[in-house]
């Protein structure tokens, strides 16, 4: 920060050190992803014995066709399931969260802060400690091993409500709501056509967070589902991985399947950088 002339070389050194450390850290995080990319393109022989960073034994097409062919393309059924759980779950969750966050922000009612404290308690509840009870409950209600068993818990994210309240306070000025009321709009209509529109960045952020959380969730589907047709990607890949010990032919399928599974999320994160950063910031500041 100080740039006296005598310290130029010193500064150059510091600059190298700072960026060097950052570069090493970035290599650490990127290396396994690069490995995944090259490994996914290899046949089983080269995956087990070949050089990692070459595309030696390049056979991505073959791996993809294997993936498609195995059990009538069950992999893509899992893909569809993941999209379904994460897409519908995240959409429902963000709607519900934004509505609640808006209500917490814009309305005054008795017991509001107590109720909000309950929501915050929910944030701190370890989700896996919840998964087993959810399973036992699903057994009791006969919803175990159905789409609902995974979908319903996915609709709830107390942290989404917390974020939504912050976003609502930041994005929706009270005056606009007042104006809508004077124009004669009812409260829910105001929320739907004014509040929700204005808080859209928050909505997208909650959606993105929840989508990732559901896409990445493993424990809940693991306990809930036994029918392979209902599996999301993570559970399906786990299943194949368990087979790979006995049959190495599964290795390329696991690796290529993993690459396809992470691709949409990586793209989403690169494209929507602004939003996830906004979400992290809203969650951590103030």
């Amino acid at each position: 920060m100080t740039s006296g002339t005598s310290r130029t070389s010193n500064r150059w050194l510091s600059k190298t050190a700072v960026n060097g450390v950052l570069l090493i850290a970035a290599l650490y995080t990127l290396f396994p992803l690069i490995w995944l990319l090259t490994a996914a393109a290899k046949d089983a022989g080269n995956l087990l014995g070949g050089d990692v960073f070459s595309f030696e034994g390049f056979d991505l097409a073959h791996n993809l066709s294997e993936l498609t062919a195995y059990q009538d393309g069950i992999y893509f059924r899992w893909y569809g399931n993941s999209l379904l759980y994460a897409g519908i779950g995240a959409l429902g969750c963000s709607l519900v969260s934004v509505a609640a966050g808006y209500a917490f922000d814009k309305y005054r009612f008795r017991g509001k802060e107590k109720l909000f404290a309950l929501v915050l308690l929910g944030v701190l509840l370890p989700s896996t400690a919840l998964s087993l009870p959810l399973y036992l409950l699903a057994v009791e209600t006969g919803t175990v091993n159905t789409y609902w068993a995974v979908l319903i818990p996915a609709l709830v994210n107390p942290f989404g409500v917390y974020l939504s309240r912050i976003f609502s306070a930041g994005y929706i000025p009270d005056e606009v709501l007042e104006a809508a009321r004077i124009d004669g709009a009812g409260e829910l209509r105001t929320f739907w056509s004014v509040g929700l529109r204005m808080v859209m960045p928050g909505f997208v952020t909650v959606f993105l967070f929840q989508f990732t959380a559901i896409w990445n969730n493993f424990f809940l589907p693991l306990v809930m589902l036994s029918d392979k047709d209902l599996y999301p990607l993570s559970l399906g890949l786990y299943n194949w991985h368990s087979n790979a010990n006995a049959d190495p032919a599964f290795y390329p399928m696991v690796v290529t399947g993993s690459l396809l599974a992470v691709t949409p999320l990586i793209i989403a994160f690169v494209v929507l950088q602004r939003h996830w950063k906004a979400g992290l910031t809203a969650g951590s500041l103030k």
Binding site: L22, L48, A100, L132, L136, L188, T281
Partner: protein
């Protein structure tokens, strides 16, 4: 949503009549919509003029208050219904289940019976060496993981925040990307990278004369810490960096003018100012650590792995439910894990001068 809007909007206060009952609708803010929908029928016709005359207060103010009350209820209900179904009920159900156990009847003719057992399951879990060992494993894991994660993330965020750093957006994205990888797949990738026949890492280490078995009993913990670190490091860096960016720049300039160096500024000004972020990350890291499951589960499936099926408390609960079919014990273990999380969260927030629930 739009369909719902109309009936509710059609029932401003006249439905509830005089101000008395309207105020009496009690504490839980979730309750209004229930009754509100019930009463919405009769009130659908012209709201204000109907009662306008006989109400003692100005009708408009009154109706606004009831209207907002209904609206708040309608907006909160979906969340709290789901919250109840997916969080509160399971917790209560787990507490209930944890009090019962299955006993074989005398000669085994009738099959198992479910009997009330008080705190028996808790005693059984706590009395089980395997369960207690799980917490020791977690403690060891945290001893490695938390300093590495916290220290690493803070250092990287501070470096990013200096004027010396280049290509900040690239670094943020590069560091953050692992967070987009599902935990299961992250674990798979790393386990392949740990496997001698598959891994360039192991080969490189052997070429450098370092023989390290990631699956041995000594290697297990570092193996898992590394996976978790890889997944979460960038996420926390971005949180810290965002917080640092919000620090008032004029404050830093003033410190520079006063002769403070970069180190001094980092430790005496920046870090104290982002304390609430530090606390939040610590909190989520602890809660996350208690849930350790996916990575060791996958490691445990490898041949020759030192990870047992009850290695962490979560794995213990899982195996109690699915390998031993002892739901009472599984529920008790889950409750105990949640309880530990609650106590630790409370301790952390308490210890670091509790911050107000913001907003």
């Amino acid at each position: 949503m739009n369909d719902k809007a109309d009936p509710v909007r059609g029932t401003p206060d006249p439905a509830t009549g005089t101000p008395g009952p309207a105020h009496a609708t009690p504490g839980p803010a979730t309750s209004p919509p229930g009754p509100a929908h019930g009463t919405s029928g009769p009130a659908t016709s012209t709201p204000d003029p109907a009662r306008g005359n006989d109400s003692r207060r100005p009708a408009k103010a009154l109706s606004t208050r009831a209207r907002t009350r209904l609206a708040a209820g309608a907006l909160l209900t979906p969340f709290f219904v789901l919250f109840t179904v997916a969080m509160i009920v399971p917790v209560v159900y787990a507490l209930w289940l944890s009090l019962f156990t299955e006993k074989q009847s005398g000669l085994g003719f009738d099959g198992p019976r479910t009997v009330f057992d008080g705190l028996g399951n808790y005693a059984a879990a706590l009395g089980d060496q395997a369960f207690r060992d799980g917490f020791w494993v977690l403690l060891g894991y945290c001893a490695f993981y938390i300093p590495l994660m916290g220290g690493g993330a803070i250092v990287l965020a501070l470096l990013l925040d200096t004027t010396l750093a280049r290509a900040r957006r690239f670094f943020q994205l590069a560091l953050f990307l692992p967070h987009a990888i599902p935990g299961l797949i992250a674990a798979l990738i790393w386990i392949y990278l740990y496997t001698p026949q598959l891994s360039p890492v192991v080969a490189a280490m052997e070429a450098g004369g370092i023989g390290f078995d990631f699956f041995s009993s000594a290697g297990t913990l570092p193996s898992i810490v590394n996976i978790a670190l890889w997944e979460w490091l960038g996420y926390n860096v971005v949180i810290f960096y965002a917080a640092l960016q919000a620090v008032d720049r004029s404050l830093l300039e003033a410190a520079t003018v006063d002769g403070a160096g970069n180190w001094r500024i980092a430790f005496s000004i920046k870090l104290p100012l982002i304390r609430s972020s530090l606390v939040m990350v610590l909190l989520f890291t602890i809660i996350g650590s208690l849930q350790l499951f996916t990575e060791p589960l996958i490691l445990s499936r490898g041949s020759g792995s030192a990870v047992t099926s009850t290695w962490t408390p979560n794995m213990y609960a899982y195996s109690a439910a699915f390998e031993r079919n002892d739901y009472g014990l599984a529920a008790a273990a889950s409750v105990l894990i949640a309880l530990v999380a609650a106590v630790l969260s409370f301790a952390v927030t308490r210890f670091t001068h509790r911050k107000e629930a913001r907003s």
